[in-house]
């Protein structure tokens, strides 16, 4: 692991439509702990031993709007913020703080602009141990010719933390083909991130913080 200080604009994004009350946020955090219990228990009968609390975050990124205030997010995890960085045309980094220790996890994204042909996919994600488990998700969007294009998208992150002494038993709710070890999970080259020029996307900038990425 190599400590890399990444200089790029990060936007603290709040849902401009509605600010949840503290009590509501607390309630949400309780709900997160059980989000996977119902389908797993009813269908499979038992939960795998060592399964930790489910962690969930979801939201919407208005990737084509140059006004940071127009982002619309919702992250039901009250302990952490949601940040977005514009890495270049059609490429975004979604940062979710406070998602807890790493565990079996899954990311789903879907283009959401809807005006024409575009699709979005996950280019990689990683879970860091700092900030109570910060998840970085790289999302790339493309047009019909396969060229990067700015687009809005929805994302969903789900994980279930596994105590370290329980190993990493896979859970039935998600998997991926040829799943790489977490330490080698692909993310954009550090040089790419470091070279990402500040853009007018951010009305306010978040102070850069030292970040850990796989070497």
């Amino acid at each position: 692991m190599q400590a890399i200080e990444i200089m790029r604009p990060m936007c603290r994004v709040e849902n401009p439509r509605r600010k949840p009350r503290l009590l509501e946020l607390a309630i949400r955090s309780i709900g997160i702990a059980a989000v996977f219990l119902a389908p797993t228990l009813s269908a499979a009968g038992t939960l795998p031993s060592g399964a930790g609390k489910p962690r969930v975050a979801w939201g919407y990124v208005d990737g084509g709007n140059l006004d940071c205030g127009a982002f619309c997010f919702s992250n039901p995890k009250r302990r952490g913020g949601v940040y977005v960085a514009y890495l270049g045309t059609g490429s975004y980094e979604v940062e979710l703080e406070g998602m807890g220790p790493p565990g079996p996890d899954d990311v789903q994204v879907s283009a959401a602009q809807g005006g024409g042909f575009a699709y979005c996919m996950t280019a990689g994600w990683s879970v860091a141990h700092h900030d109570r488990g910060t998840v970085d998700i790289i999302v790339n969007c493309y047009d019909v010719a396969g060229n990067p294009t700015d687009d809005a998208f929805a994302f969903l992150y789900q994980s279930r933390a596994i105590p370290l002494d329980q190993g990493r038993k896979e859970l039935p709710f998600s998997w991926r083909i040829s799943r790489p070890r977490r330490a080698t999970r692909p993310i954009p080259p550090i040089s790419t991130i470091r070279q990402a020029a500040p853009t007018p996307w951010c009305a306010t900038e978040r102070a850069p913080t030292p970040r850990q990425f796989p070497a």
């Binding site: 309780i30 975050a57 039901p76 899954d106 789903q108 602009q113 493309y142 396969g146």
Partner: protein
């Protein structure tokens, strides 16, 4: 996981024997690619989902992907029904499998594939024009902050996505396209996540 051929896979989730639910897939990697769920079914041994993947030119290609399946509750949300001690709140969501792509009349997707966390009735799908649909949660005026995932279903290399959901409009528009970006009728699966209370 079984590879059936180039860009074609069958993912089996053992033990999940109940028919219905919702499946979402997302292509994974640094090069343009997309994946869809052609269909899924349940048997005595589990649930199997057939996944098709394509490269940026629309040609079937071996790709990495992530897959998520849920039944009886939307992904990423905790439905109030299941929280025995707190029945007065709950982020709610919904999902549906739009299985009649060329039905020009408003219809309700099959019950087993149609979940509404607001308990306001089954979701409906209305064909507007070729490749353009409106998915409605009855009795819900505004979705609030919403995340909406859409995965195309059926054969071929169609792709589907939600309309602009920034304003939380209900109904939600879903558009489907062929590889040439032409609108095309297609099956799709849609999944809603909202921060609304019931």
């Amino acid at each position: 996981m079984v590879r059936n051929g180039t860009g074609s896979y069958t993912a089996t989730i053992p033990g999940l024997t109940k028919k219905g639910g919702n499946v979402q897939v997302t292509a994974y990697g640094k090069n343009p690619a997309r994946c869809k769920v052609s269909d899924w079914s349940a048997s005595d041994s589990g649930t199997s989902a057939n996944v098709l993947c394509f490269d940026g030119t629309g040609v079937a290609a071996d790709e990495k992907f992530t897959l998520a399946y849920t039944i009886g509750v939307p992904m990423g949300l905790w439905n109030y029904k299941h929280d025995k001690g707190n029945t007065h709140y709950g982020d709610s969501g919904a999902y549906a499998w739009a299985d009649q792509p060329d039905n020009t009349k408003t219809y309700r997707p099959p019950h087993a594939f149609n979940y509404n966390g607001f308990d306001t009735g089954r979701l409906t799908v209305a064909w507007q024009q070729t490749g353009n649909y409106l998915v409605t949660l009855r009795g819900v005026e505004d979705l609030g902050a919403a995340g909406i995932l859409v995965t195309a279903n059926g054969d071929g290399n169609t792709t589907c996505s939600a309309g602009n959901t920034n304003e939380g409009y209900n109904p939600v528009e879903v558009n489907c396209f062929d590889q040439n970006a032409n609108p095309v009728d297609s099956e799709f699966s849609v999944l809603f996540q909202t921060d609304l209370k019931k």
